[in-house]
């Protein structure tokens, strides 16, 4: 790949480093981690012992160094709840999370692109207004409420779909639709407005002047150009998607990273929480890089 991709790859290293700093300091500066690991009535002595055991009495930079050394050795700490190293527990959950997020991204793109293109083609008609209204509504509804309403209607009232768990296709439908609604609501207006802008570009007039059919002009020449901002947008949505996945997984008891993290927080299992947040962030960065790569493939202007 070109200069751009090399630069993007190099940028990832400091970002990853900063992420570890941020996570580390958030955990250590926002309060005393021992206070939530021990029962309320724990003795001062027990507290001190735990602090000593966790190395919390050492200077911060030393603690950070130990933390980062551990990460490189695959040591993400010991989970108090599971009484086992955190990393394998977290790794085990990754496929479920990736499955859910991948399906939702695909689903939201498949929903958003045709709707956005058709709305742009039908600019000013009732169909256009309807799509617009749906997109705004989709953005305004919190994903967890959408999930609850889906359970209420499809799971409880009409009992069409299972409301929790993972394993079958049917169980995948509701959580992925929940996530996809919000994401596609963000993408639709962008597809629509970039299509509207692009049909007035000079090169579209050129394409028409060559006698290309309207289909070719729209779906080949205009669409490829409209895709560029859409990819950027999807890449920007990825952290939000993983954040949304956290709640969605909780609602639908989907055994992914998000659910693990939420239970980790409820159980005050610091190692699990830290490992989850680092892992999810790492995945986010990798997926973003992939989006950039795709962007490069489509737009030759970036490739140089």
């Amino acid at each position: 790949m070109g200069k751009y991709m090399r630069r993007r790859l190099l940028q990832v290293i400091p970002v990853l480093l900063i992420v570890t700093v941020v996570v580390f300091f958030m955990v250590h500066l926002s309060g005393d981690p021992t206070s939530m690991m021990l029962p309320q009535d724990a003795t001062q002595e027990a507290r001190e012992n735990l602090r000593e055991a966790l190395g919390l009495n050492r200077p911060l930079h030393v603690q950070y160094w130990i933390f980062i050394k551990g990460l490189f050795q695959g040591d993400f700490g010991i989970s108090h709840k599971y009484n086992a190293p955190a990393l394998p527990i977290v790794l085990e959950r990754i496929p479920a999370s990736l499955e859910l997020c991948a399906v939702s991204i695909v689903l939201s793109v498949v929903i958003a692109i045709p709707l956005g293109v058709w709305a742009a083609r039908a600019h000013g008609t009732p169909f256009d207004s309807l799509v617009n209204a749906l997109a705004v509504l989709g953005q305004a509804m919190p994903s967890f409420w959408i999930g609850i309403m889906l359970i209420l209607l499809l799971g409880v009232k009409w009992t069409l779909l299972p409301v929790s768990g993972r394993g079958s296709m049917a169980q995948l439908i509701m959580p992925s639709v929940t996530l996809a609604i919000g994401t596609s609501a963000q993408i639709i207006p962008l597809v629509r407005s970039s299509m509207l802008e692009i049909v007035h570009e000079d090169y579209i007039r050129t394409a028409r002047s060559k006698g290309l059919s309207e289909r070719t002009v729209i779906y080949r020449h205009a669409f490829k150009n409209a895709l560029v901002p859409v990819i950027t947008m999807v890449a920007l949505q990825i952290p939000a998607l993983f954040g949304g996945a956290l709640i969605t997984e909780t609602i639908f008891a989907w055994p992914g990273l998000g659910q693990l993290m939420v239970t980790g927080v409820t159980n005050h299992d610091m190692a699990i929480v830290q490992a989850c947040i680092l892992m999810i962030t790492f995945i986010t960065i990798v997926v973003n890089l992939c989006a950039d790569m795709l962007y490069c493939l489509i737009d030759p202007r970036i490739r140089m």
Binding site: V22, M36, V136, P142, I151
Partner: protein, 299 residues
């Protein structure tokens, strides 16, 4: 035509009247404005509007459905939750937390983001690189995860919630302001004042700051909507607002448990969130259309 001439005329309408005029010409803008106004009034006068104390338990009304259903009554128009608390009153009180957290966290994030964005865009070089990498890092960590970790360690209260939602949502501000400053830096009027030896900080505050204000205001408005949803999400997950304080997120979490039998408990708080967010987004969209100089004269 007449409007256009009036605009050019010797006495253009003053700022306020001009925008008021523009507002009511836009349908969604008007709707958004009235929704926000309504929410503000409800939040401020909640004790006077709410028919019941949101935390008072009425055993007779336990799980009472909304008034139009069998077993419902006009005493509790939206019904009651599992403890017999009036849902309508709870929703009214819920606006307080939502708006408070939404607005204050945006002010925090906005202040932080605008400073970082302006510094980063104006003084390029290593300082820009450092700020942008930090921004990338904060962007890559999903906000809700970051907030959960901090809330877990620090314990949760409205103050912490505002700090953490604000402290994790400044990234779009910094990025947008930076890119605007980068563009403005190349404009003639900035080059001009540089050429006559104006100090960097003066250029930044006098010439650049006013020019990024309109995008900043739009982004602020849009982020209030986003942060209201963040607050509800965190409270829904049990790490945000803690009962007995009333929050829409907490209500949704409670309602989720009774989904099979008492749908209204989990439905109405969601509608309240959706309407509020919708109103703020409408207003934000309208502001974007009006304040965007490229759109000037269209509306």
């Amino acid at each position: 035509m007449g409007k256009k001439n009036a605009h050019k005329g010797a006495n253009p309408p003053s700022g306020f009247r001009k925008y008021a005029g523009l507002l009511f010409r836009s349908q969604t803008g008007t709707i958004g404005f009235f929704i926000l106004l309504m929410i503000l009034i409800i939040a401020i006068f909640a004790p006077h509007i709410a028919p019941y104390d949101p935390t008072s338990v009425d055993l007779r009304g336990m799980r009472m459905p909304p008034f139009w259903m069998e077993g419902g009554s006009m005493e509790h128009i939206l019904g009651c939750d599992n403890l017999g608390r009036d849902l309508w009153s709870r929703i009214i009180y819920g606006t307080r937390v939502s708006l408070l957290v939404g607005i204050l966290s945006v002010l925090l994030a906005g202040a932080f983001g605008i400073v970082l964005g302006m510094v980063s865009g104006f003084y390029s070089g290593w300082i820009d690189s450092v700020i942008m990498r930090v921004t990338d890092a904060f962007f890559a960590i999903p906000r809700i995860l970051m907030a959960m970790v901090v809330l877990m360690v620090a314990g949760s209260s409205v103050g912490v919630l505002i700090l953490i939602i604000g402290g994790t949502s400044w990234v779009p501000f910094a990025r947008m302001i930076r890119s605007e400053v980068l563009a403005l830096k190349e404009k003639e009027f900035v080059k001009c004042s540089r050429s006559i030896g104006t100090k960097g900080t003066v250029i930044l505050l006098r010439h650049i700051l006013p020019n990024v204000m309109s995008s900043f205001i739009v982004l602020c408005t849009m982020n209030i909507a986003g942060n209201i949803i963040s607050e509800a999400a965190l409270s829904f997950l049990g790490v945000g607002i803690q009962p007995p304080t009333v929050s829409w997120g907490v209500m949704l979490a409670e309602g989720r448990k009774f989904l099979g039998t008492h749908w209204w408990i989990g439905t109405f708080p969601g509608i309240a969130i959706t309407i509020s967010v919708l109103g703020i987004m409408f207003l934000g969209n309208w502001l974007r259309d009006v304040l965007d100089p490229r759109n000037q004269g269209i509306k």
